[in-house]
Amino acid sequence: MTGNHPPVTDWSVDFDHADPTYAADPYPIWEEIRGRGCPVAHSDRYGGVWFPATHELVSEIAYDTERFTSRSVLVTEGRPLAPAPQGIAPPISSDPPFHHGARRLLLPAFSPKAIEKLEPFTRAYCHELLDAVAGREVIDGAVDYSQHIPVRVIAKMLGFPLEDADTFRKFVHDVLESVDLPIERRLENFLELDAYLTAQVEDHLAHPRDDLTSFLLDAEMDGAPLQPEHVGGTIVLLLLAGIDTTWSAIGSSLWHLAGHAADRQRLVAEPELLPLAIEEFLRAYAPVTMARLVVDDMDFHGCPMKKDEWVLLPFPSANRDPAAFDRADEVILDREENRHAAFGLGIHRCAGSNLARMEMRVALEVWLERFPEFSLADPAGVQWSGGQVRGPRVLPIHVG
């Protein structure tokens, strides 16, 4: 939450997802926009941004890869330099037809069966984190626990030094949470990330091993090795896409359970509900809002969209749309019908969704096993991240 922009006063015509009010409590803002005659907000900030708030419009845009390009999925002041269809971080920044091959390459490493093998490592690490704070009455569910889990697991998958965790987290923060910084500052941050990755890649080239980095360096697409920018971009993506997001999802789930004793007691008594409850947490507290760029000037349901304007894809608002979900604003642990869009819709469906779900399940299982009783230590002191990934960043929980 950097607050480098003036505060928003009218969400319909001056929308800004980096505004501190939005980070703290976006729900009434979505409701207001969804309730208008035209459920699409606009802003001249960032060189033009649209914000469609309903499930129907979000899915229409996610499926329409012709009129909306993924060339960049992060709204910033500048526009991406890397051209379509590859973009800067394949496959998330790629459009068809390039996207298909770049995505297919990654999928086997993230299939349910491949991810299952990482479960014991993840579980042991969750216990290790809680051992480290044993005896304390108040634990920060974000700082002491959630934020570490995805970092450790992706570092293991990529074959990066596990002790570099703090470095990765700083990159994530710089790239994802500081979107309203001036472009020069963002560029500096990118260069630092680039230097770190170059060193890791060189080490893997000199000493190939059985991990995802060596796999990508060795991989072929259409019979040719991947271009170095492709390998680098994909590694950045894996590093960034999986960390903030999963950390937010675990943190929001803990936040909910710490504040809702009946739900917590129910999960402790009926642990078999956890997989359904996780889907409900993903629906109600979906962490990720994506973005597209408008390909050409056009009229979209009455909105005069201009080439190169941003369109945010607020999956979190779609998931709270009463037209798509019964009792959309309530958390119902065993919700039976739950076609939530937390992992996106269409061809860019989160490639890491099986990994994210495993990490959420294991993190919550271990926490509930160690602390069947817990509550918010300082409800007003909880802080949420802004930008396109939302989750608790400070979350003091009373466990003693």
Binding site: P108, F110, S111, P112, E279, R339, I347, R349, N354, R357
Partner: protein, 66 residues
């Protein structure tokens, strides 16, 4: 009752497989397909309905016996 996965719509969210592994499997690319020609054994009808009600892409199709 029978179930079917529409391969053109399926994007590999894996909801069906995790909710009803008796009825669906997934390949290495995460794409789902029905097991046993889609025939739903007696007693698993609820699971089949649950899978359909949770597929974000509306790719799980249920065919009720006439």
């Amino acid at each position: 009752m029978r179930v079917r996965v529409d391969g053109d719509k399926c994007q590999g969210h894996n909801r069906c497989y995790s909710l009803a592994p008796e009825l669906f499997d997934v390949d290495d690319y995460g794409n789902a397909h029905e097991l046993n020609d889609g025939v739903v054994p007696p007693g698993l009808e609820e699971k089949a309905r649950l899978a359909a009600a949770n597929c974000p892409e509306y790719a799980v199709i249920i065919e009720e016996d006439a």
